[in-house]
């Protein structure tokens, strides 16, 4: 086999996510009355980028065979925080941005410590921390409001060179600065190993705990980036429960669409990004086909149901029924 085939195989999940997204987006663009203009791309990017950040966050944790049901709430919390501190002079704004990201990472660290040191099950531990983070968000913003440095906000949500949506550039930056270093570090590889076969990883002397903690912290950080972006779009902070839980649930869906296995060890945060964009495009597609918007959630659900059922084909290859129960 040639080199690229191995690459293909390694990236299969991610490429599946990419393929789903490209097909959907192509159909969307072809049918869009305006075609692919910079403005259409900008709108699509801005819609997708929020979920993309949260899905990346979820992917980090899912790769270690964990789950973070608080990502949506970290997203909301950082949004509320940003609407307070990402204001003022460029200097203040810069500090504000770092403050928001730090807060996100801190939330992730708390999750990680509860799961690793506290030995709690990730599902329940993050449900509980999610409530806490939402509570803090409400404390910060009992009512929607606040402001953000509008210059920064506009720059982040506008276009780069008048063509490329700047939100995509920032997303790319997150991939280059967070995901790639992580996935190519020993810690990142340990995260995959822990998710894939924890016992074998242990036998091989892999730093499992460090890897898991890092995954949770980075998840918090990425969710924080998402929250920051939400503020850039809306110029306000809002502690909306429905928004938080919605983002959490769709982040899981996006991760699966992007080829990340919920059993851990497989997939990438890049796949999760495509998954997120694919999930968002479903909604937009219905718009260009002039489907009654009322149909949107139903069709989204059905697409999701079909997408996740595809994986079941592999079951036909199982020769020993005991392998069902792994």
């Amino acid at each position: 086999m040639t080199e690229w085939r191995y690459w293909l195989n390694e990236q299969r999940g991610t490429l599946m996510g990419l393929a789903i997204f490209v097909i959907m987006f192509a159909v969307y663009i072809v049918n869009h009355p305006a075609g692919l203009t910079a403005n259409v791309a900008q709108t699509a990017a801005n819609k997708g980028v929020l979920l993309a950040f949260v899905a990346m966050a979820q992917a980090m944790v899912v790769i270690t065979a964990g789950i973070d049901l608080s990502v949506g709430m970290i997203f909301v919390l950082t949004n509320c925080l940003a609407s307070w501190i990402v204001v003022g002079t460029p200097m203040q704004t810069t500090f504000g941005v770092f403050g928001v990201l730090l807060a996100g990472a801190l939330c992730g660290a708390i999750n990680g410590l509860l799961v690793i040191k506290g030995r709690l099950q990730p599902i329940v531990a993050t449900i509980a921390t999610g409530a806490i983070y939402f509570g803090i968000a409400l404390l910060l913003r009992p009512f929607p409001g606040g402001a953000v440095n509008e210059d920064l906000g506009d720059a982040m949500t506008g276009q780069f060179f008048g063509i490329i949506p700047s939100s995509l550039i920032v997303l790319l930056g997150a991939v280059l600065l967070v995901w790639l270093p992580f996935s190519r570090s020993e810690t990142g590889r340990a995260a995959y190993a822990a998710g894939s076969a924890e016992a074998a990883a242990f036998m091989s002397g892999v730093p499992i705990r460090r890897a898991k903690l890092a995954a949770y912290i980075l998840a918090g950080l990425l969710a924080g980036m998402g929250g920051l972006f939400l503020t850039f779009f809306t110029y306000t902070g809002e502690a909306a429960y429905a928004s938080g839980s919605g983002y959490t649930l769709w982040s899981i869906a996006a991760v699966v669409l992007g080829g990340v296995s919920l059993y851990g060890g497989r997939g990438s945060a890049i796949g999760a990004i495509f998954g997120a964009f694919a999930a968002r495009t479903t909604g937009d597609m219905l718009f260009v086909f002039d489907v009654d918007p009322l149909w949107q959630p139903l069709l989204q659900g059905i697409v999701l149901l079909i997408a996740i059922s595809i994986g079941a084909v592999g079951l036909l290859r199982v020769r020993n029924r005991l392998d069902w129960f792994l």
Binding site: I127, G135, P142, L294, P297, G311
Partner: protein, 320 residues
């Protein structure tokens, strides 16, 4: 010690006892704030509010005992409520069949969940998430397309708010009935035994000749039906069905089951614990709101207490 206790107390593990102690502690703390907390009236009111969560948590418990999870609760609840109300709009037959029809819709979606988990072997978290979205889609379509009949029938209202035994709201009786059925199901039937067996080791259960896929499927169907029934009751209580009425029930129902000592990995837990968990959560919410703590503080205290209790008795073994 434990071994010699009988009946539902046979499985009384430290977690259940801790949960009940926490309830007493909460009542005690509440009574320091206001003596109303110990009044019969207040307690009955709390039980009544708890009964909606209780019905839903019962179904959730079955699924968690299997080692799975049901995230489709919110919209199955809403669907149950809306479909019941819709049926009521269709004349006398509809009125009569309103409640069963609402529950049936939940059961059908539960079966869909069960099929995905048991036969397609998709992780329950993602299947139930998807069916939740589908149910939401159907309901959005239904309520948006034409003006729906959304008011609860008299029967639903009676079930949720009426009083048949003097002093005891019917909702409590409903919850008690569901609870009795659950205790019977889990402790006395082959189905209950199979559930615990599968939750401990699906492999071993399968090798014991149990039709594990059917059991999983039924458990999800029951969970779906009970979610829908919870929605029906809630609609009766509020006199109408509404979008998003189920949103605030998903996480509390999981928390109630886990706080009651049921392992999120499945196989272990007693129904008594779930009852304790439901009461605990309801009381907690009520006390926080009576103390006029703002929503923000409530959420924080709520989360911290759950974590504290989990750290107290919900930790997995150290040697991993």
């Amino acid at each position: 010690m434990r071994a010699r206790l009988s009946g539902p107390f046979r499985r009384a593990d430290p977690a259940v006892l801790t949960a009940f102690c926490c309830i007493l502690l909460l009542l005690f703390l509440g009574s320091l704030y206001s003596s109303n907390f110990l009044s019969l009236e207040y307690l009955l009111q709390q039980l009544k509010v708890a009964s909606f969560l209780g019905v839903i948590a019962a179904g959730m418990m079955l699924v968690i005992l299997l080692g799975h999870i049901d995230l489709s609760v919110p919209w199955l609840m809403t669907m149950g409520a809306m479909m019941a109300c819709a049926a009521a709009g269709m004349g006398v037959t509809g009125m009569v069949l309103a409640i069963p029809f609402g529950i049936l819709c939940g059961v059908l979606f539960g079966l869909l969940n069960g099929f995905g988990v048991a036969y397609l072997r998709i992780p329950s978290m993602i299947v139930t998430l998807a069916t939740n979205v589908v149910a939401q889609g159907l309901m959005v379509l239904y309520t948006g397309g034409f003006s729906p009949q959304d008011s609860a029938t008299a029967a639903m209202r009676w079930l949720a708010t009426g009083v048949i035994v003097p002093g005891v709201p019917n909702a409590i009786l409903v919850w008690a009935t569901v609870s009795a059925a659950m205790v019977f199901l889990l402790a006395r039937t082959t189905f209950g035994r199979s559930i615990y067996g599968i939750g401990n080791s699906e492999r071993a259960a399968y090798l014991s000749g149990i039709n594990t896929r059917r059991v999983v499927m039924i458990a999800f169907a029951v969970s779906g039906g009970l979610s829908a029934f919870g929605g029906v009751l809630l609609a009766g209580y509020a006199s109408k069905a509404a979008q998003a009425m189920g949103d605030s029930y998903l996480l509390p129902s999981i928390a109630a089951v886990v706080l009651g000592g049921t392992s999120i990995l499945g196989g272990r837990g007693s129904y008594l614990g779930t009852v304790a968990g439901v009461i605990l959560i309801t009381l907690l919410q009520s006390i926080l709101s009576v103390m006029q703590m703002p929503e923000a503080g409530r959420q924080i205290v709520y989360g911290i207490i759950i974590i504290a209790m989990l750290l107290l008795y919900g930790r997995s073994p150290a040697n991993r």
